[in-house]
C-alpha cells in the first residue's frame, strides 16, 4: 500500500507524568533536609536555601552581591584556593536569588561530593568578605552595567519594572550605577550575619546518592552547626494592583526597537492561574502562538515575540516583548492589541486549543529531565508550598479547560486598552 503522506500518523493520547516522591527529615540540629533521589547520571546537587529573597530586602543587588562574595575567601582559604579546589574535584558553587528565598548550590559528580562538602560549608558560613575583592567586583559590575545599558532590551526591561512597580518596590528596584555605588561591604556583612543563619534555612539534595552516607556526612558538618536566630524580615512586596496606562519612549540609535508592554495581573495563588497560563501561551508563549504567527510569520517584523505571565504568589505581571525593525513599531503595537481583543471576542477553536494544551503537556517532561531541574522544582515547592501532587494535578486541570473558559478569562484578565508600554530604540 503506498504511503499516504498527507495524513498524520495516528496520535496517541498524552500520558500524565508524576513527580517522584521526596523524603523530608531533620538533621541533628533541626535543619530540615529534603532528599530526592533522581536520574541515572552520577551527579547531584545540594541546595542550601535561606528565606531571605528580594521580597524582604530594601537594597537592590544586596543578596546577589553577598552570595557572589562568598567565594572571595574564607578564614581558611583564599579565593584562588577555593576556585582551584572546586576545579580539582569537578564541582561548582552557584547561587540563585528568588523573590521568597536565596539559595547556594553545590553541583558535583556523586563520587566527589564528600571531598567538597566541607568547603561548601566553609564558603557559606565563614566568608571573610575581603575589601579588595569587593572593590574589584564593583568596578567590574560598573563597566558591565554601562555595556548592558547599550542594549534596547535591557533598558526597556528596567524602565518597565521601575514604572510598573514604583522605585521602592522590590520588583521595581534594580542594581543600577547609583545603587551599585551605594552598596557597601558592611551591608553584605550584615546581610550575611542576619539572614544566612542555619535557623533560617533548609537543605535540598537531588540526584544520585547513598542516603545513609549523605545524612551521616551532613550531620557531621552542617547538622552540627549552632542554629542561631532566624531574622525578623518584613515582606515588602505587598502592593495594591494599580493600573498604569502610559507609554514611555527611550531614544537610542540603531535599526531596531524593543517594545515591552503589559500590566500587573493575577498571581499563582489565584484560581484562574492555570487557565491563564494556557491563555498566555496561546497568545505568545510558543512558536505556534497568535503573536508569533502574526508579527513574525505573517508580517516578518521580528525574529521573535513572546508573552509571559510572571507567576508571583499574589500579584503577577503579564508582559509582552519583542524587538522589531524601527519602521514596524507602530503596527506591532496595534497587532498586539488586536491579538488580545480577538481572544476576548471569540473563543479559540477546539483544534487550536487542543494544540496548545498538548504542546504544554508534552513539554512538561523537558522541565524534569535532570537532577538539576528536579532541584529547581523542589526549590519552587519549598518557596511556594505548592505540593508535588498539586503540580501533578495540573495535567488534568489543563486537559479539562474548555474554549469558552479561555474566552471568559480573556475578557476578565486581558487589558489591551490599559497597558503600560516602554519603547526603546531608533524611532522612538
Amino acid at each position: 500500500m503506498p504511503l499516504n503522506r498527507s495524513q498524520a500518523p495516528i496520535a496517541s493520547p498524552l500520558k500524565a507524568l508524576h513527580l517522584p516522591n521526596f523524603e523530608l527529615i531533620e538533621l541533628n540540629n533541626g535543619i530540615p533536609l529534603y532528599l530526592l533521589p533522581y536520574g541515572k547520571a552520577e551527579v547531584l546537587q545540594l541546595q542550601w536555601i535561606f528565606k531571605a529573597g528580594s521580597n524582604f530586602l530594601a537594597q537592590a543587588g544586596l543578596a546577589s552581591y553577598t552570595l557572589r562574595n562568598l567565594q572571595e575567601g574564607t578564614q581558611e582559604r583564599t579565593a584562588i584556593e577555593i576556585a582551584q579546589q572546586l576545579d580539582q574535584y569537578g564541582a561548582w558553587i552557584g547561587h540563585d536569588v528568588g523573590n521568597e528565598q536565596v539559595s547556594i548550590q553545590l553541583s558535583t559528580v556523586t563520587q566527589q561530593f564528600s571531598q567538597v562538602l566541607d568547603l561548601f560549608q566553609e564558603v557559606v558560613c565563614q566568608p571573610l568578605f575581603p575589601e579588595a575583592g569587593f572593590e574589584q567586583m564593583k568596578a567590574q559590575s560598573h563597566q558591565n552595567l554601562i555595556t548592558a545599558a547599550q542594549k534596547t532590551s535591557f533598558q526597556a526591561r528596567r524602565k518597565f519594572g521601575h514604572m510598573l512597580y514604583g522605585p521602592e518596590h522590590p520588583h521595581g528596584k534594580h542594581l543600577g550605577l547609583e545603587e551599585l555605588a551605594a552598596l557597601q561591604l558592611e551591608n553584605l556583612i550584615d546581610f550575611h550575619k542576619e539572614c544566612l543563619q542555619p535557623a533560617n534555612s533548609v537543605l535540598a539534595l537531588c540526584g544520585r546518592f547513598d542516603r545513609d552516607q549523605v545524612i551521616n556526612q551532613l550531620n557531621q558538618g552542617i547538622g552540627s552547626l549552632p542554629l542561631g536566630n532566624a531574622p525578623h524580615l518584613t515582606d515588602r512586596s505587598a502592593m495594591e494592583p494599580k493600573n498604569l496606562i502610559d507609554t514611555y519612549y527611550i531614544k537610542r540609535p540603531g535599526p531596531q526597537s524593543t517594545v515591552r508592554t503589559g500590566y500587573l495581573s493575577l498571581g499563582k495563588e489565584h484560581e484562574d492561574y492555570v487557565g491563564m497560563r494556557i491563555l498566555v501561551t496561546l497568545l505568545g508563549g510558543f512558536y505556534g502562538s497568535r503573536l508569533m504567527k502574526s508579527i513574525r510569520e505573517d508580517k516578518g517584523y521580528t525574529y521573535g515575540v513572546y508573552a509571559a505571565l510572571a507567576g508571583r504568589s499574589k500579584v503577577g505581571q503579564l508582559v509582552i516583548q519583542t524587538d522589531v525593525g524601527n519602521q514596524y513599531v507602530k503596527d506591532t503595537v496595534k497587532l498586539i492589541a488586536e491579538a488580545m481583543k480577538r481572544l476576548q471576542n471569540e473563543a479559540p477553536t477546539q483544534s487550536e486549543l487542543e494544540l496548545v494544551k498538548n504542546y504544554m503537556l508534552g513539554q512538561s517532561v523537558n522541565q524534569r529531565e535532570t537532577a538539576f531541574q528536579l532541584g529547581s522544582i523542589l526549590r519552587y515547592h519549598i518557596a511556594t508550598g505548592i505540593s508535588f501532587t498539586e503540580m501533578d494535578d495540573r495535567f488534568e486541570q489543563v486537559k479539562a479547560i474548555e474554549a469558552a473558559k479561555i474566552q471568559e478569562l480573556a475578557q476578565k484578565w486581558l487589558k489591551p486598552e490599559a497597558m503600560l508600554s516602554v519603547i526603546c530604540g531608533g524611532n522612538s
Binding site: R5, A11, N144, T152, G254, G288, D323, G362, V365
Partner: protein, 409 residues
C-alpha cells in the same frame, strides 16, 4: 558512555539509535552536512535562510510546527559553517509524527512567494537583532574576512550582507535544496524511549522511498598558513574599546583540536583561570575577557575577546594579555590535572539530557567519527603537559593571529 547502534538505508541515510527508557520522551535529530561554507560568495546566508524555510511547508504538510505541537512536540534548528541541524523533542508515544514530518520535508518543499518574502524579512530582523543592534555585534562579521582570506569560513552563517538575503529568489532556494538536502547527505539520530526495531521499521517506512540525490558539493579552497600578524581597526557606538583575536587551529575531531580546547579552558574557564587571575583581577585590565574554540570541519579558530577596563589603554591590555598567555608555559602537572577534572565533570553534567547526547552523536558523525562522543574524555585525560605547551606555542604565535581593534566612535 553513550551507547548506540547504527544502520544505513539503501538511499544512503544513516540512522543512529541511542536508547534511554528513563522518561517517556524521544529526541529526533536530523543533521544535514551543509553549512555556510557551501554557499557561493555572492549568495551568502543561504544555508541559514534555508533552515528557516524548512518550517514553511513541505510537499504534503503545509504547517510543520503546528503538526508537531499538536502531539506535544517542540523543535528548533541551527546552522553553522559546516552543518545544519534540526531537532525535535516529543513524548515517545508520538515518535511516528516526527518521522512523518522530517521525511516529508526531506522529500521536497512547497511554499509560496509570499512565505519566502515574509521569511526573508524575519531573517533580516534576526540579522539586525544579533549583529547590528548589539554593542560589538558586528565584530566577527568584520574579523572573519581578515582571518580567512580564501576559505568560505570568511563569512558568518548569517551572511556577508543583508542584500544577499533580500535578493534570494525562489529558483535560488530550490537549487540549494536539491544540491544539499538528500538522504545521502544526512544522519538521523533517534534517542530516548525508543527501540532499535521500532526505529528500523519507521525509518524504512518514511525515509526508505526518498531517492538519493546527486550532491552539489564542490572542493573548497583551503586556507594557506598565515605567516604574519594581521590587524584591522573599526569604530562603532560602543562604550569601551575592545580587542578581538582569532588564531588558526586544527580541525574539529583531531587530537590537536582537543589540546586547543583545553588551552582555552586554562586561559579563561572560571575564577581559577589565567585570564581571571591576571587580567580581570590582578592588573584589572578587563572586566570580561574570554578564550574559546570555534569547532569547524576544516581548520577552525581560537578566539580571544576582551573589553578594555575603564582608564586602561589598549596597549596596556594587549601587553598584559600576552604576558598572561606566556604563563601557559609555566603551568605545572597539577594545573593540568585540575583542568582535566573540570572538563570531565562538565562533560558528565552536560550529558545528562537526551538532547545533548543526540546532538553529540550527530556532530561526531558529521566529522566522520561517531565514536568521538565516547573517546573525548579519554583524549583530554591523555594529554601531556609537554603536548599542551607545544600546541600553545604553535597556535598562539603572533604570526598566526588576526586582530580586530574595536574603537569607540
Amino acid at each position: 558512555m553513550t551507547e548506540y547502534q547504527q544502520f544505513t538505508l539503501d538511499n544512503g541515510l544513516k540512522v543512529v539509535v541511542h536508547e534511554d527508557h528513563d522518561l517517556p520522551k524521544a529526541v529526533v535529530n536530523l543533521i544535514y552536512r551543509v553549512g555556510s561554507k557551501d554557499e557561493a560568495p555572492e549568495r551568502t546566508g543561504f544555508a541559514h535562510l534555508f533552515e528557516h524555510l524548512m518550517f514553511r511547508g513541505s510537499l504534503n504538510v503545509p504547517e510543520y510546527d503546528s503538526a508537531l505541537q499538536r502531539v506535544g512536540g517542540a523543535n528548533n534548528a541551527f546552522t553553522s559553517a559546516d552543518i545544519t541541524n534540526y531537532y525535535i523533542s516529543l513524548p515517545s508515544n508520538q515518535l511516528e509524527t516526527a518521522f512523518w514530518l522530517e521525511s516529508d520535508r526531506m522529500l521536497g518543499l512547497d511554499f509560496s512567494e509570499e512565505n519566502l518574502e515574509a521569511e526573508k524579512s524575519v531573517v533580516i530582523e534576526e540579522y539586525k537583532q544579533r549583529y547590528l543592534n548589539q554593542p560589538y555585534g558586528n565584530a566577527f562579521l568584520e574579523l572573519r574576512p581578515l582571518h580567512y582570506q580564501v576559505h568560505p569560513y570568511q563569512w558568518m552563517p548569517i551572511g556577508k550582507d543583508i542584500s544577499h538575503i533580500e535578493e534570494a529568489s525562489m529558483q535560488d532556494v530550490q537549487d540549494f535544496f536539491y544540491s544539499f538536502y538528500a538522504p545521502n547527505n544526512a544522519t538521523l539520530v533517534i534517542a530516548g524511549d525508543v527501540s532499535l526495531e521500532q526505529v528500523k521499521q519507521l525509518s524504512q517506512k518514511w525515509f526508505g522511498e526518498i531517492p538519493s540525490r546527486k550532491l552539489g558539493k564542490s572542493l573548497l579552497p583551503q586556507e594557506p598558513a598565515q605567516i604574519s600578524a594581521r590587524t584591522k581597526t573599526i569604530s562603532g557606538k560602543v562604550p569601551f574599546p575592545a580587542v578581538y583575536r582569532l588564531y588558526h587551529t586544527p580541525a574539529y575531531g583531531s587530537r590537536e583540536f582537543f589540546v586547543t580546547d583545553l588551552i582555552t579552558d586554562l586561559l579563561s574557564s572560571g575564577k581559577s583561570s589565567l585570564f581571571y587571575q591576571n587580567l580581570v583581577r590582578g592588573k584589572e585590565l578587563s572586566p570580561s575577557v574570554n578564550a574559546y574554540v570555534i569547532p569547524m570541519h576544516d581548520p577552525g579558530s581560537l578566539a580571544i575577546v576582551g573589553q578594555i577596563a575603564e582608564g586602561k589603554s589598549v596597549a596596556e591590555f594587549e601587553s598584559g594579555l600576552d604576558e598572561t598567555i606566556d604563563k601557559l608555559f609555566a603551568l605545572t602537572e597539577e594545573d593540568l590535572d585540575r583542568i582535566k577534572a573540570k572538563l570531565e565533570a562538565s562533560y558528565i553534567m552536560q550529558q545528562t539530557t537526551i538532547l545533548n547526547r543526540a546532538i553529540g552523536l550527530a556532530m561526531s558523525d558529521a566529522v566522520g567519527d561517531i565514536e568521538l562522543v565516547n573517546k573525548m574524555v579519554d583524549i583530554y585525560q591523555s594529554l601531556s603537559l609537554e603536548e599542551v605547551k607545544k600546541v600553545a606555542k604553535k597556535i598562539l604565535a603572533p604570526t598566526n593571529c588576526s586582530t580586530l581593534y574595536y574603537e569607540v566612535e
